[in-house]
């Protein structure tokens, strides 16, 4: 637990001082919205609101990939990854600390991006703010667990920026499909089906447990 809190504190303080990852993720997400505007027939307007849930999650995934790619790059400066690997505890705690820090940073970006989507597509997100936040949190938990794990695995490879999306997206398919359908249900004014939530919870549990257990080997040289 000491290790989890230490890594979480270190990552958030470092990010607060530089803010480069947060700003890059925000700007990139907003650029993705701009691209949607030009890609959709009729533009990103209320007429295309039926596409909003899928597009929202595309923006979330793209910004997450950008941020997650950087999560372990900062550990390579001055070879600090060795310090995390030397912590005298199960290295799974390092994984939890890094993944939670990524979740906090991603959540800040998601709050801004969701607000922009709500304005552009005239989505009624205030009416469903609490359940929508729950769905986004469940989807992001899976995203950050898988992303943190593969970010650590790929950071020492020659093409880490290319490797990360290739490694992260396939295992996220069940999480993304459940998150998109749950978001669509909420934005249509309905209720989230139990099966979507069940799939999100089960996938999240699997990813966090597997990440915790296997991280011991990921930090080996």
């Amino acid at each position: 637990m000491n290790v989890l809190l230490a890594v979480l504190w270190k990552d958030l303080v470092s990010e607060w001082r530089s803010r480069d990852r947060l700003i890059a993720m925000l700007v990139f997400s907003l650029l993705v919205v701009l691209v949607f505007h030009f890609a959709l027939p009729g533009g990103a307007t209320p007429r295309n609101a039926q596409h909003a849930p899928g597009l929202l999650w595309i923006a979330f995934v793209f910004s997450a990939l950008l941020g997650l790619g950087r999560a372990f790059q900062i550990e390579l400066e001055n070879d600090a990854l060795a310090i995390l690997a030397l912590a005298p505890a199960d290295r799974g705690w390092v994984f939890l600390g890094k993944a939670l820090a990524n979740l906090v940073i991603l959540s800040l970006v998601q709050a801004v991006v969701a607000s922009v989507f709500a304005i552009v597509f005239e989505l009624p997100i205030l009416a469903v703010a609490a359940p929508l936040a729950g769905v986004v949190l469940l989807g992001s938990l899976g995203l950050c667990a898988v992303g943190t794990f593969f970010s650590a695995m790929s950071v020492r490879t020659r093409f880490s920026e290319m490797m990360l999306p290739v490694l992260v997206i396939p295992p996220l398919v069940p999480v993304l499909s459940a998150a998109v359908s749950a978001t669509a249900e909420l934005l249509r004014g309905g209720e989230v089906t139990f099966s979507s939530v069940q799939l999100l919870v089960v996938a999240d549990l699997i990813y966090w447990i597997v990440g915790f257990v296997l991280f011991e080997y990921v930090l080996d040289e």
Binding site: N2, V3, L5, A6, V7, W9, K10, V13, S14, R17, S18, I74, E77, N78, D79, A80, A82, I83, L84, A85, L86, A87, P88, A89, D90, L219, D220, E221
Partner: protein, 236 residues
Amino acid sequence: MSAPAIRARGLEKRFGRAVALRRIDLEIAPGTRLAVLGPNGAGKSTLLRLVAGLARPSAGSLEIAGVVAGKPAARAQIGLIAHATFLYPQLTARENLLFAGRLHGVADPGARADALLEESDLTHVAHRAAGAFSRGMAQRLAIARGLVHDPSVVLLDEPFTGLDRSAAQKLSERLAGLHAAPRTQIVVTHDLGRVAQLADRALLLVAGRIARELRGEELETPALERAWAEVTEGPL
């Protein structure tokens, strides 16, 4: 009788087809200061990283004070100091030490950080970002970070790299001072001139094997240079 600080039996490390270390047998008593010497690619840093638990052996066994290397209880005894500082540039000097202390479960990391900053003559820059430090100051902070949990085994991987003469001399004195506490030290260096000051035993590694073991007067520079030339079949 207490367990050796480090014990290796038939230790091997391979990276694909390349063999970095071949059948290393080694026993180091607690409090020993060992220098590991050898040409580039001899396996010196690999040996250090195996002892630290950052890599796993391909064959053989390696124990730190009777615990299998790499286990959390073995990692708790290791302090690693290298030419890379392992510091976070956005954090201040004190925050870097606080982080290291918390990672290692130090009881009062704040007090420990303050004590180490004072020992390292860095109190006046305690709240300055480590990224703004000169190479010499960063190396002093890196040593403090490596000692934050009072490790019984200190590993030094070419710590003089990138330091000017004055900073290297100060570092040398600081490292000699570490021996005041009963610590085992292993230093990897290319600087044969400092071996007699830093070590009381040396290994000459060539192509992943221990080619020669040296002690006492054999650690003086001329004797070391002769031994080097014999095992590498050429002068420095």
